[in-house]
Symmetry: D2
Subunit: 312 residues, 4 copies
């Protein structure tokens, strides 16, 4: 093995200059939030180092580092990515934190409002930033509220947040325990945390939270972590991740069958597959709404193909 | 092995009559919360079954089930306890849920206020239930607020919670997306979740959340889960847990040394040990406040012993 | 909510007749191994139940159960799948178990050869089952050893395994501690374990271990668990899993770009993209071996497309 | 907060000189094994840093770092200890690795004998190091085998290990796939791995594996990790850990009741408690063997007290 004990020498810690430069510096998110890198372990080189222990001397000359990292990521050999670890200090509205904390494979120390007085800041929504409920996607938004109406919403929010803070401080002044006084703080109240996670799990977090289906607020944090931090920390792994997981396209078995039939120029076979999947009416029409069919349609369109059931 | 395939017979699922009786029935907690058992796997018998696979034929006749379970728990052979699993449906204020969710080794599905309108209930504090901030324990409460003052606090809370709900509903009526409209809901708002966990991790959760240092609200949930559910589900494991982990006493190395010295009737040695631990002033007095010494004092008092540094 | 406490009724445990039928029955794998279902919690219905708590009343009428499960799986809403749990009793060669145990999100009780005498069985390879080392895939096999030679290998293995067992038993007879006597047992020795895991993590295990790249022995166990057990336990989830994760096709960003160019009938653009990815020589030839390009080639061939760099 | 973004400055990474000195250097264990620190994140200071985020400004002046770390460890505030991470390169017999890998909360990359030829080294037991099976503790050893007999055992082991290596190499020479050729390697064969874990989980690993009940081989690795590495890396946390978890004494509820009764000079009450626990015969004699009673006896003896049931 390349680093068998006989030849093992004293090591220097791996460091990454681009991260050392921003260590401790708050990267702003939302009106009052931030993400700071506090510490890290490893880099692209550490992924390679761990993989070469797995694969032993055999890998030595076969592939260069970039090829190896791309291979690992493509084939879900995820353990070498766990060999990199990063620690953040974040400031986030509790509403966003409630989503964040659902990712269980991380280490967390959150600011305690039992122990200390709650942070005196709540996330405010600007007049032009109120989003409309999506009529089709029950858990999404689409478009914006008219800014005039938005101004009213923002003004009301400001006075409500002020009222809630007053109530909180009044309780404290009257001697109510902090752990109880806080119970009516709004979810928009900022909290802070140390959050430590390995690269594999961080990429998984980002793939869910940078996604369009994710809520705008947490997506902004994920974007900063991904594009401004991971991209600098492990640039080869990050590029591979963008290529394979973010920028790619996944076809299900039915979708693959339909695409193959269409490329063989057999639209009737394609339609039959769609009908078998209960996507179409008996007569082969895309009558009722069907999410799976809609998703297949969108993928075919990305390939420049109109599904036969939408052809005139 | 007792259940080698040659002799393996068709199994019946393990069931526990005392849990089957309460399956699905909400056990009330706080003003509007509950805990319901939705499903479970295993029982005391499953712990024994798993342990006997570990230990093979050797254990067969050596110990009865109770002795074996107690031995496992005492010696931290925790894996057999992971073979039991339980699933709850709970309704909890978000403030409490924020503490609950910190336990990572569980499976969770929480009610989504992106997808659906927030539950129209917030936890209300009764006039006689407002707690005073502890002057000594920064993260605790001690005693109660005067009920006359409490009435005022309760009335103000009611009108504040009503105002927050109105604000929320007004936003929804104006077309604001649910995911954004919710941002100023108070932490007292109830949420619901399915929560599934194995017995080992549940006991760990309970040891932290039934503890005096835990906040009253989550302690009430933990008490219901422990005394009304686990006690029925796995009574032998529960009793062993109460005996070893809840009802016991842990001495640190210094505390042990002091106790041994005192039992040998060598108070000067005991005092010296406390001085070495920086608990006492040079002259052997308990001058400054010191938490470790206070905790040692309390343990010695439970044994009926006055520490020499408090003797006149 | 559909099961708000007001209307909550006493529940019956979910059970699945097709699993109850095989509960405890050993399904044979390899020459001496098996998989037995010992207990389980939940079913397809439990996935739906948990998802409906997440999504609240909103989901009630929108989708039927099959549509909902397929949607959850397609969009990586994995938490409802964690609400199902299954417990196996398995008998596996230690060599295979070493791979199996790498999956960390499971509960395990293994037979202890410190506590008991090692199981007197080692996995034997039949004369026609010796596999040849693959010359291209360093970690794989391809084709079989000539059975005549195989007979020799099998005979030598049998006598070696006998010698190792004799050595083990001799040590025991001389009073050597079991924990030390076992140290030279071959990896082919069978072990047993209770293994408990939730459905989400089980599907992840299966996606890695049913894969072609996985070693034949563990693949046989995975096949039995998938096709003979999960297929009966949660048939809707299993079918969705086969459709989306097993039978599908994933394209990376580069592969997608190439496919799009080819479907637009722009082979030069496609070739340029491949050259940018360093898959081709300057002159556009697939000169050096390149794994990523090979994988792209294979995907295009599944779609009936010859890559331009392989066209005459 | 002490490091609010307004005042946040560019950070330097935390480093620990005593660890930097041994970074990469193999610390020898057994005849051919080692432990090397490859990288680390954090130190005692990082524990404090994370705790102060949890507790906010409140902690600033209250306690010094040592007092805070000791308080955290004593009261099971374990999350700040998770903020430290360490990565090892280890070389271990597979038999020992089978125990090691049971600790699931770690990141692992093991040397692959599918990919590369197995390491040509097996752990050899010296003539004077063969241990006798304990007659009372089924999973332990006690005392040593006579060295003359030990010499025979060692000689036989050497020739057996040689035979097994020959068989392995013969299979490889005949073209058998590495993944299959390895199946009869003895458990004593060395493997290597990168192993990364946070301090909280490492201390838990050590508390189980430095324990007397643990097998000698893994105990030697645990001892090196604890005393030669963690002691240098986080000396304050390590000392607190030794004081509270390793050097202490835990009494169960029954044991506590008995001790209290004896200190009140009420031996009859103590005997009655032991009888209630089914430790004694009806007549109050320690007739049958009972592990719980034996453990209580041992604890009382450490306190210099003879249990009444052993008094003449």
């Amino acid at each position: 093995m390349s680093d068998a004990p006989e030849t093992a020498e004293h090591l220097q810690r791996v460091s990454v200059a681009a991260i050392d430069e921003i260590l401790g510096v708050p990267l702003r998110v939302l009106d009052n939030g931030f993400v700071r890198v506090v510490d890290y372990m490893g880099s692209d080189a550490a992924i390679v180092q761990a993989a070469r222990v797995s694969y032993g001397a055999g890998t030595k000359r076969v592939q260069d580092d970039t090829g190896l990292i791309r291979y690992l990521l493509r084939h879900r050999h995820t353990t070498p990515f766990e060999m990199c670890e990063i620690k953040f200090h974040v400031r986030v509205p509790m509403d966003t934190w409630r989503q964040w904390i659902r990712h269980r494979t991380a280490n967390v120390n959150e600011y305690s409002t039992r122990y200390s007085i709650a942070i005196d800041a709540a996330q405010r929504t600007a007049p032009e930033a109120w989003r409309r409920q999506s009529p089709v996607n029950r858990q999404g938004s689409t478009g914006l509220i008219d800014p005039t109406l938005g101004s009213e919403l923002t003004a009301k929010e400001a006075s409500f947040q002020q009222a809630s803070r007053s109530l909180y401080e009044e309780r404290l002044a009257l001697g109510v325990a902090r752990e109880q006084a806080r119970k009516d703080l709004p979810l928009s109240t900022y909290t802070e945390a140390y959050w430590k996670i390995d690269l594999h799990n961080l990429l998984h977090f980002l793939s869910l939270r940078m996604d369009d289906h994710s809520q705008s607020e947490i997506r902004q944090y994920a974007g900063v972590i991904g594009h401004q931090i991971v991209a600098k920390w492990c640039p080869i792994a990050w590029q591979a991740y963008l290529d394979y997981q973010i920028g790619g396209l996944h076809l299900s078995e039915v979708e693959l069958g339909i695409l193959q039939a269409l490329l063989r120029n057999e639209p009737l076979v394609a339609t039959q597959l769609a009908r078998d999947a209960a996507w179409l009416s008996e007569r082969g029409e895309a009558a009722r709404r069907n999410r799976e069919r809609d998703e297949c349609d969108a993928k075919l369109l990305r390939l420049g193909i109109t599904p036969p059931w939408h052809r005139p």
